[in-house]
Point group: C2
Chain length 342, copies 2
DNA sequence: TTGTACGCGTTATCAT
DNA sequence: ATGATAACGCGTACAA
């Protein structure tokens, strides 16, 4: 147990604690060498707790995500980690998609961290107001809450991504286009659904195959299965996140539905193995690491500039990555196949 | 800024700070209701820093992993998170495979956390002696350092997994079996290589296709490419972790090598999409979440029982998950194909 | 049951 | 440049 304090070092060297403290803070003092040696000999480490108490700061930034095993959030965390810098650390909270855990975590966080980067479960939360009430800086990443405008955000251009995906399918000639959507209570869920519906409307297509699911692999599986059950099944589907895409692919595989011959599929968020599956998966991609890094930068800016900082909003761009999972609908394939599939 | 302290509450109610403190600790005091109300009215939150200083504990357990975007480590973290309990939290440190960051993080951790669960970069580190010197409880997960025996560990039965994988290939009739190994300086790297070599030797097969790589996707790609370059290429390959498996699959795909007809492949660690690729991937699987949970349990046990606790070692089992990526070598396929592939 | 007063380890202020 | 000391906010032994 390192029960050795600054006082012990001071006594050992024969100076006052103030001198040791100053040396630690980088000031020039008299017995530099002796002090350095004493610190090593005694194995002295400053107490973080005492420093926190004195300074009111902890040097720790919390990052709250719904599910760390989702590769997207893992990348967000990695990006944030990379941008946190030398003298701060990250406290990860994985809420496991549980509102209870999220609330509890938020309460616990106060006083332990200097700020919170968070991807809230849903938009209708009181968490953030809770924090703003206490003056703890907060930055939203990927998702916001209702009064999210008042805080800095690092989001994705969700609507644009959904529009690109939908238009891609429309351009291929699809008329019966499905969307397996995320919860409309979340930012990305809502925005992507909006983008999808807007594209459909613009092209004069009806919105007949819209399923609100839950961003999970199981949800994607169930939704895709339901879609395939329908008498008049869609010829193309847009899945609103990586996990649901995986689930949908499993459903397709289990039922022996051929992609893209029988159905086209495009997912939001790239997957590590998108090129390995057969056919390679066409997706809307974005740089999640960058998004995490941006969130951290916004947080550090707030921490540096103080409470008076104006909230800033950064946006990560999306792009279409065409691989092989989208093709014209079957009735058009003899005409357009060559043009599109290669 | 929540600059409201316990003193403010005490004054507001008209009692002493001790009474408030006792109330907070769950003791029965006189003005329960008034106190409760005052706490709400004033928005009082106990200072974690002050509590830490007093108690010497932080309620935070650090978990140090090399790469959080590796799904395996993400699952470890998730498992640990699930077992951490109500009144503790997790501090995640992602070292990004950098020894520097790892060392720095360890130093920063002291005083901020009650214990450290860690997957060290390599076995030849001084980290643990560093910790034992300071009396900070430590539990190794997935990997240990040289003197790891002295600490609690939550490992996988790596040698067994490698043996099962290798024997599976041998049983199919393969003679030219390659291994794309992890760094021999790491626990899993070394143990899996040992298991592979032992199996070969037991069957009287030479070890001609052993490549030490680095557990990364790029490394797996390079190693697989090198293997395919060889005049007398192997007919089967065992990849020592998930990322290298992905890399190897990419290399195979890029060169148009058919699996399992031209080459069989089996990987250590299951993949989310193992069933989605063509052919579905045969793997050695283990329960990473359980492993993380076990590590956390060992840590909590140590924290509860104090420094006198004897180190314990828990082991997570492995199992063969046969899918479609392994078949007899080409020259035998006419004979054995039916028997094995279905 | 309640209040007083001290200590936890550090940093900052004030004199020297 | 240095030393003594107050203060950070909380918990708790001690006395009442």
């Amino acid at each position: 147990m390192s029960t050795v304090t600054i006082t012990d070092v001071a006594k050992h060297v024969g100076v006052s604690v103030a001198t040791i403290s100053r040396h630690l803070s980088g000031f020039t003092v008299r017995n530099e060498e002796k002090i350095r040696q004493a610190i090593i000999d005694l194995n002295y480490r400053p107490s973080a707790a005492a420093r926190n108490l004195k300074s009111g700061r902890t040097g720790i930034i919390a990052i709250v995500v719904p599910d760390i095993t989702n590769p997207f959030f893992a990348s967000i965390v990695e990006g944030a980690e990379g941008a946190v810098g030398e003298d701060r650390m990250i406290l990860l909270v994985n809420t496991g998609d549980s509102r209870q855990r999220e609330e509890k975590a938020l309460a616990q966080l106060f006083g332990r961290v200097d700020g919170v980067i968070m991807a809230p479960l849903t938009e209708d939360e009181e968490g953030p107001s809770f924090f703003s009430q206490f003056g703890l800086p907060i930055v939203f990443v990927d998702r916001v809450t209702q009064d999210g405008e008042k805080f800095s955000t690092a989001l994705t251009d969700n609507a644009k991504g959904a529009t690109i995906a939908t238009n891609h399918l429309i351009a291929l000639g699809h008329k019966k286009i499905a969307m397996i959507s995320g919860p409309l209570s979340t930012t990305p869920g809502k925005k992507r659904a909006d983008g999808f519906k807007a594209s459909l409307k613009e092209s004069g297509l009806p919105c007949q195959y819209f399923i609100e699911s839950d961003f999970s692999e199981e949800g994607g599986y169930a939704a895709m299965s339901a879609l395939l059950e329908r008498e008049d099944a869609p010829t193309a589907v847009f899945t609103a996140n990586n996990l649901m895409t995986i689930g949908a692919l499993h459903a397709l595989r289990d039922r022996g539905v051929a992609v893209p011959n029988q159905i086209s599929i495009i997912g939001f968020d790239d997957l590590d193995f998108a090129e390995l599956i057969n056919p390679p998966l066409t997706v809307i991609a974005r740089d999640a690491r960058l998004q995490g890094a941006l969130a951290m930068e916004l947080m550090i800016k707030q921490l540096t500039n103080g409470a008076s900082t104006q909230p800033e909003h950064s946006m990560v761009d999306v792009q279409l990555v065409e691989r092989g999972s989208c093709a014209p609908p079957r009735e058009m394939q003899t005409i357009a196949f060559n043009k599109v599939d290669r």
